[in-house]
Symmetry: D2
Subunit: 280 residues, 4 copies
């Protein structure tokens, strides 16, 4: 692991983040003898090694930068990708609601850019495992590169294949699906989940939510919940405090469920009188 | 640890959750010979021991219940408390943005009900530590009880005292403040954080945000961000899909910052042209 | 008209609003010799006649009240009803987007409680007309009573019948449908609208939105827009400024369209690249 | 009035809106003999005169356009301006909450681009009046041009001057302030409002809200409410229904109050237990 260390100073091999004016940032690993070119001049790695995190440094053209440990949020947002992104606002809530914890074995499909893979791998720690299915080889390849760069590859088992054929794992502690048609795989998800195990999927459209809800019910999932998360930033000016002008209006709907022995009666799900006042 | 196990069947000592119709739920530990009384009849612990999670069971009056492992979300929501609650929507985003990870040493104040303590303790795993400060003894006592019940007490160092006097720890990997006047303690937070280390506080009012922003700037924190999170649930009915009638409108504003060597210039913070289009 | 007068003092016949502590309010017409009983004592109408609006008055048990002209918002919220409510947040936006203006002839179905009828009647003024269709006689009766109470009955033409049979009016300036299945009547709406005329409907579920969108396209409506409005109140405390704890999460989706000569091409509607950055 | 007519066909002098592909639109008055140049070719006014609204027409390069009556929303959004915009989502709610109705005399300051002036002038109809104060002559000039173009100039009394000196009108039916420091003028607003009359202001920052709340209380305004409105558009695709990717996150906070004889007690305002469950 190279990025969530508990270190106070940089050392060779560390993934570092340089942040210049305008919050432009660059993430790369420190290598003795290396150099990094930005649009505001050049920095020598050797000058950066051994500094305390948070140091202010200057390029050869005197442009200022902060030298920081990238946080997991920084890394997720920065990921090279050829697929749709998952946002920290959604990832944080999914991790907590699925209860992803050190030592667990969790499963996801598809791997995509590896953003969720990284978040899961961070949470399950060195004693857990993430099993990550992907159908396209070139996408898996890029994800593997993203994850290896963070030193997390030992925590992830990459699988290539069509999840229509099912998952070979049993008694998985939690499943996350980020695919176009999750409703086609709920039987497979049920088979791989441990009894009582939690499931989540993110889908962009409401039509997908409806299809998934039908499939979840058919496969005897209970405690089904659908929600969306809105994140609004403020301009951090203490005397002119106000939200930013624009925001992300939509990423996707989160659908949760749990594998149980037998279905709840239909009306429990639909007409639940407590639904509006449920815990949030 | 008794609740985020990777087990498939219940055993004595496990914390279990019974969920009846209308999603009413009860969390308690299984004890050989014990019995649990609900408003819908009695259940004998011995009948529940050894069952797969997710089993459907019946009380002596034939009322149906699901037998589940409580997730961390369930536990946080269920916590006995005498202070204001932190919501999963906020906790998940805070954990991810602070980058709280297995093996870290993180610090919080005040302990309160212990909800954030539990979330932090879950994420830092068996090799990390949460240092939790609280000024009121009776509140600390209840939080300790809540945390011990989950078997997480070995991961938490409880401290009793006024944080005005500072934190005795150095090079802490991340700090979360849930106190009325966080702006009074930013010097202390700076002293305990490792270089580059992240800080977060949740405050309910906009006046508090303004005061905290001023204090963060004075103490040379950079990358200051203010945001709020809205969570909206939907009625999970595939043919009448729509949000619930009412929702939580506000819990608090999240304020983030990072300790850096030197302050950014003032205008970077306020007039940052990229702010509206920043990553979300 | 008895309630949006430009008067400064009350007179017999005026609809008045009494507001007591805790913002409890009562709306009723002043009648010489009358008296009004509240849970906090009795008020004689004669004592209220001739006072300036905004006066502070006291019941016979010394409970304080403000004497106010009810605003149209107050009246809409206060309406006796046996059907679902329309909210001011939605009504205001619908009126503006449809361009409902003095002198126009507008049409709505169903009448329901008459809330939208009142809002439309207020906007079209003494020289306009609202044609309001309702299928159930008892509902029409209550709406008529609500509207007559405000002295707006001369501006409204009440029609009883099934709109499946079509509207008898031609060249209507704007149409608003508040019915369960608006998609079944878009041919009828098209026939009654003037060329270029605007249409709006409010539907609670996303499934209804989809059906309505298909019907609008089939009937050659263009400039189709779907939106929802969220209204969040704040606690009006200058030193503890923050949103209220809870809010209405959903009333309905607003769907707008305009009758045009010929349909836009399908991709204009769906894949419009400008859609995300459109005017708001 | 040239734009909210109840006509079915165009005639000389009418303000028309041409909408091309990608929803690009152009608003201009029809003049016999005139011609209009777009980036997609030329249209002769004479070919457009006498057509039904909603007609599909073609430029000399065969580019398709719809010929529409601009709605008030279209006009407000299209306004030439040198000041900050007011959005339809806010305007609609303000008009309804202030109860702006045909025949009323309402007052605003500053005039700005004239957007609110137009909306007010439309609602008060031919028998009402809008008194509009502006301190800068060049801004008033542009607003006057915007309003004259719509044929609404007879409904508006333009005043040039510093509202610090007060308003010369008495017993005004409603006041809207769109100025940077509304708190400095609440005495003046109180003096011009009729008893019980409603007030509204839109301010962008929370610090402004706090200052305005203090001023409203000092000047004995009651029924003070603060709110914000969020408008979210959806992509109107029936089989991929979902919100747009981005949205306006903030325009401003709306602050309402009513002039009453005597102030409510402080706790009524702040600690009102009913506040969270108030009508919306």
């Amino acid at each position: 692991m190279v990025w969530n260390l508990t270190s106070t100073h940089t050392k060779p091999g560390d993934l570092v983040m340089l942040v210049g004016t305008g919050h432009k940032y660059f993430i790369f690993p420190l290598q003795a003898g290396g150099s990094y070119h930005t649009h505001r001049g050049l920095l020598k790695h050797d000058d950066l090694i051994g500094l305390p995190w948070g140091s202010k440094i200057y390029s050869n053209t005197d442009a200022p930068f902060f030298l920081l440990q990238p946080s997991i949020s920084d890394l997720l947002t920065d990921l090279p990708r050829n697929t749709q992104i998952m946002y920290p606002k959604d990832i944080g809530f999914v991790l907590l609601t699925l209860g992803v914890s050190p030592g667990q074995q969790v499963l996801e499909a598809g791997t995509g850019s590896g953003a969720m893979t990284i978040a899961l791998a961070n949470n399950i720690g060195p004693d857990g495992k993430v099993i990550s299915y992907e159908i396209k080889e070139e996408i898996q390849k890029m994800a593997r590169k993203n994850i290896t760069r963070l030193g997390l590859e030992d925590r992830v088992i990459f699988k290539l294949g069509d999840i229509q054929d099912g998952f070979s794992e049993l008694n998985i502690d939690g499943v996350f699906l980020d695919v176009q048609n999750p409703w086609d795989y709920m039987k497979q998800v049920r088979d791989t989940l441990k009894p009582g195990g939690p499931f989540c999927s993110l889908v962009p459209t409401q039509n997908q939510v409806s299809k998934l809800l039908i499939s979840l019910r058919r496969e005897n999932f209970a405690f089904v919940e659908v929600c969306e998360i809105l994140l609004r930033y403020f301009k951090p000016d203490p005397i002119h405090l106000r939200p930013t002008d624009r925001m992300v209006a939509h990423t996707g709907y989160l659908v949760f469920g749990r594998k149980v022995e037998e279905p709840e009666s239909d009306n429990n799900q639909i007409d639940d009188p407590d639904l509006d006042t449920k815990k949030e």
